[in-house]
Amino acid sequence: MAASAESITPDVVEQHGLSPEEYERVLHALGREPNLVELGIFSVMWSEHCSYKSSRLHLKKLPTEAPWVICGPGENAGVIDIGDGQAAIFKMESHNHPSYIEPYQGAATGVGGILRDVFTMGARPVANANALRFGRPEHPKMQHLVKGVVAGIGGYGNCVGVPTVAGETNFHPAYNGNILVNAMTVGVADADKIFYSAATGVGNPIVYVGSKTGRDGIHGATMASADFGEDADAKRPTVQVGDPFTEKLLIEACLELMATDAIVAIQDMGAAGLTSSSVEMATNGKAGIRLDMNMVPCREEGMTPYEMMLSESQERMLMVLKPGKEPMAEAIFRKWELDFAVIGEVTDTRHMVLEWNGEVVCDIPLGPLAEDAPLYDRPYLSKEEYKSWAQVKPLGEVPESSDIGADLLRLMASPNLASKRWITEQYDSQVGADTLQTGGDAGVVRVHGTQKALAITTDCTPRFVYADPYEGGKQAIAEAYRNLCAVGARPLAVTNCLNFANPQRPEIMAQLVHALEGMGDACRALDFPIVSGNVSLYNESKATGGGSAILPTPAIGGVGIIEDYTTMMTMGFKAAGEHIAVIGPNYPELGQSQWLRTIHGREDGDPPHVDLADEKLNGEIVRRLIAEGKVTAVHDISDGGLAVALAEMALASGIGATIDAMTTEFAFNESQARYIVTYRNKGDLDRAEVPFARIGVTGGDALTIGSSAASIASLRDAHASFFRDWMEG
C-alpha cells in the first residue's frame, strides 16, 4: 500500500464523522489501518446519507410491490408500468442542509441530482415537483432563503427544460434553522429500455462522462449527516455548484447513447460522487472495480485521489460499456461537448482498487462498504411514551367563530394557505407543451404523443405527524391518494422523502418509526406502494439557539395515471347554478387545524383520524363520477377545511357560491377522505351509491356561507396579500 504516510489520529477519524466504534469496524474490515483515501471512502459510505444506517431496518417494512411495479427501492429511482409498453420513473430527494447554507445552489443542485436519478434509468424527465418547508416569515434569514431556493429551483429546472408542475410550500417556526428542500422528478421511458446500475462483465470498461471533477462538495454527504453547529456558514465550501446547461447536454447525450445497445450499467454521481457510484455499481453487480485515478477528468491541477473520490461536482455519470463500444459512445459525448474517459474496468475481486501514478492507493473489500455497512436499531419511544413526551395539549374548549367569512379571509391570507403564485410563476410549468394542469390538486402532464397523462402531487402535514406520528404518516399517503383521485387519476405509487431530526434521540426515532408504520398501513390499504425514496436525518440546528428539531416531515410524492386526458378534472367551478356537495363523512375534529392555529394561535388536540377504508371507497367513487361525466368540478378538502376548499374553487373560476349555514366545526375542520364536487342536475348523484351531502349552489360574485359573505374580490386580494406584501411590499 502506497502513499499513506498520513497518520490516522482520533481527531482525523472524528473529522470524518466516524464514531470510535465505527473506526474499530474499519480496522476489522481491512485487517489493518486505513490510509486517508480509504478512511474518506468509509466515511462517506457509512454516512447516514449513503448508508441509511438508522432507518434501513424500518424502511424494510414498507410495501413496495404491486403488479404494476417494475422496479422498487434500491435502484436510482422507482419504475412503474403505465401501459402501452411505457414506464414512469420517479423519485423525490432532499437537499436540505446545502439549501440552508447556500439556498440558490443548494436548491438548484437538488433539482439536478434528482433529474439525474431519473434519466440515469433511461427516462426522459417530463415533470418536476417539490416540497418546501421554511421557518416563520419574520425570521431574519427567511426571505433570503425563500428567494434563493425558489430562484435556484427555477434556475435549474427552467434551463434544463423540464416543467415544474406541482409542489407545496409551508411555513413553521420549527424550520427556522433547518429548512427543507425536497425535489421530485418524473420521467417516461420505454418499459423494455430501463437501465440499471449493476456492473457486470469482467474486463468491461468503466467510463466517466459529463463535467470534470473539481474540489466542490467534498464531504457533502458527511455534512448532510450531522446537526448544524454554530458554524453553518463555514460549511459553504461543502455545497456543490450546479450547471443546468451541462445537465441538459448530459440528458441528451445519455438518451442518445441509451438508444443504442452499448450500455451495460449506468449510475449518476450524486451524494459521495465517484465513491458511492462506483461502490454501488460494483456491489449491485456482485463484482469488483479497478479505477485509474490518473484518468479521471479534473477541473483543477494537483487534485489528489482523496479529493477526486470525495468531490460532489455535479453533472457527472459513471457507465459500464460493452467492450468495443467506446468509440461510438465517445463520439456522442464529444458531439455534446462533454468529457468522456475510460477510467477503469470491472473485475471479479469484490474489492474496490484505486491506482494512482502506478501505485495502489486504496484496496477495500466491497462488503463492508455497502451491504455490511453499520446498521443500527436505535431505541425509540412507544406511542404512549411519545405522546407524553410531545405534550400536545388536549383540544379543550373551542369558541364558535363569530364570522366565518372574516375567519376565511384571515386564513386565505395566512402564509400556509396564501396563493403561491409568487413562487410558481418563477418556474417554467409549460415547457414541453404537455402540461395540462397546475395549481390544482395535482399537476398533470400528458405522456407525449399519447392520450395518457400522469398526475403528480406532493403532500405531508407535519403538524399532524408531530402530534401523532402514526396517524400523520397515514394522512400524508391518504392526502396524496386523494389529490390524484380529485383530478381523475388512478393512484399508482409513491416516492417518499423522510425528513427527521437526530435519530439518536429516542423521541425523534419514535417519530420516524411510527410515521413509517402509518405510511406502510396506508400504502397497503390503498394499493399504493412505495417505489423509491430518500431519508434525511439530523435536521436540527444549534445555529438558531437551542437544539431545535424540525417537525417530522415524511414528504410524499404520489403519481397516478389518467388513461384519457380529456377526462381530466379541475377544481374551479364551471358555471353558475350548479349543485355543490361534500362526499365523505365529517367528524368533530378541529384539533391541529389551520383554523385553530391561524385564528387562535393554538396547535392543540389530536389530528384528524384517517379511515383508510373511507379513503379508498370515496376515492373510487370520485374517480367513477369523473369517468362517467357526472361531476363538473372536484377538489379535495385538506388544509383549512371545507370553507377554504370552497374559496379555492371560487378563486379558480371567478364564480361564487351560496352555501347553507354551517357550524364552525363543519366549516374549518380537516376531516379526511372528503371531496367537494359540483354537478348539474339533482339526479346526477345517486344516494344509494354516493355518500354525499348537498351544501349549496354555485353563482354570484361572493362566497356566501349562511349569513356570512366574502366577495371573490376580497378573497382574491387576501389570497395574494401575503407574498405581495412580503416580497414586494
Binding site: N158, C159, F245, L249, E337, E425, V431, A433, Y565
Partner: protein, 225 residues
C-alpha cells in the same frame, strides 16, 4: 409540395421539439431539425424557427453565443434572401444578438423569471406571421422568461412604431419592456422575434389555441403564393 420548415437546435435549446410539433400541426409536414454546428441549412426552406431555451446556457448574454454559431451565419444569409425566420423567447434574443432585429432583451424588471399566460394585442395583422389575426385582436399566449425586457433607444422605438414593425404588444406590464413591446419584425417583414410562446398555444389540450393563427399565417402565405 409540403411546407419545408426547419427548427434549429443549439446546445441548451429546450423548446425545439415543441416548435417542431406546432409547425407540423399547422402545416401537416414534419419540420426538419438543424444542428447548431451545421454550416448550411437544408435547401428550399419555407420557414426557419429559432426556438426557446438557454442556448449555451445563456452564460454570456442571452443568445450571444448562439448568434455567433455556424448555423446563424447561414440563417442571416437566408433571412437576407427573404426566407421567413421566427425567433421565440431565446430565439428572439438570438435574433437581436445577431443583428437581424434591433434592440436588446434585458433582465425582467422584477428580476424574477416569469411564467404565466399574458394578453397580447396584435398590432400589425399585415405581416406574413400575423395575417390570420384581426388588426387589434386580443390573444392569450404564455410567456416563460427571465430576460424579456425589450429595450431600444427612443429613435429606434419610434421607427419601429412608425413602420408598423411592432407585431405584438403586452396589454399589461409583464417584464418592463419599453412600450410593452412583446414582438417585432424586421424592415423587410420576414423576420419576427417575440418573447411569448405561440407554440405552447396550438392544441385543444393547451390552455388556449391563440398561437395557431401565427403558424397558419405562415403556411397560408406559401399556399397562396
Amino acid at each position: 409540395m409540403g411546407f419545408r420548415s426547419a427548427v434549429v437546435t443549439f446546445p441548451g435549446s429546450n423548446c425545439d421539439r415543441d416548435m417542431a410539433v406546432a409547425l407540423e400541426i399547422a402545416s401537416g409536414t414534419p419540420a426538419l431539425r438543424v444542428w447548431h454546428g451545421d454550416a448550411e441549412l437544408p435547401e428550399r426552406l419555407d420557414f426557419i424557427a429559432i426556438p426557446g431555451g438557454f442556448s449555451y446556457g445563456d452564460y454570456l448574454r442571452s443568445g450571444a453565443m448562439a448568434a455567433r454559431s455556424p448555423i446563424m451565419r447561414a440563417i442571416v444569409e437566408a433571412a437576407g434572401r427573404g426566407v421567413p425566420v421566427l425567433g421565440v423567447c431565446n430565439g428572439f434574443q438570438v435574433l437581436t444578438e445577431s443583428g437581424l432585429l434591433p434592440g436588446a432583451l434585458m433582465r425582467n424588471a422584477s428580476q424574477n423569471f416569469i411564467c404565466r399566460t399574458v394578453s397580447l394585442k396584435v398590432e400589425n395583422s399585415q405581416t406574413l406571421f400575423t395575417s390570420q389575426y384581426d388588426q387589434g385582436e386580443e390573444i392569450q399566449v404564455p410567456v416563460a422568461h427571465h430576460d424579456g425586457n425589450f429595450f431600444a433607444d427612443t429613435e429606434t422605438l419610434d421607427r419601429l412604431e412608425g413602420e408598423g414593425r411592432v407585431a405584438f404588444r403586452y396589454l399589461d406590464a409583464v417584464n418592463g419592456s419599453q412600450r410593452d413591446i412583446a414582438g417585432i419584425i424586421n424592415g423587410a417583414g420576414n423576420v419576427l422575434g417575440m418573447m411569448p410562446h405561440p407554440e405552447r398555444a396550438v392544441e385543444p389540450a393547451h390552455a388556449g389555441t391563440d398561437g395557431r393563427k401565427l403558424f397558419a399565417s405562415a403556411v397560408a402565405r406559401l399556399v397562396d403564393a
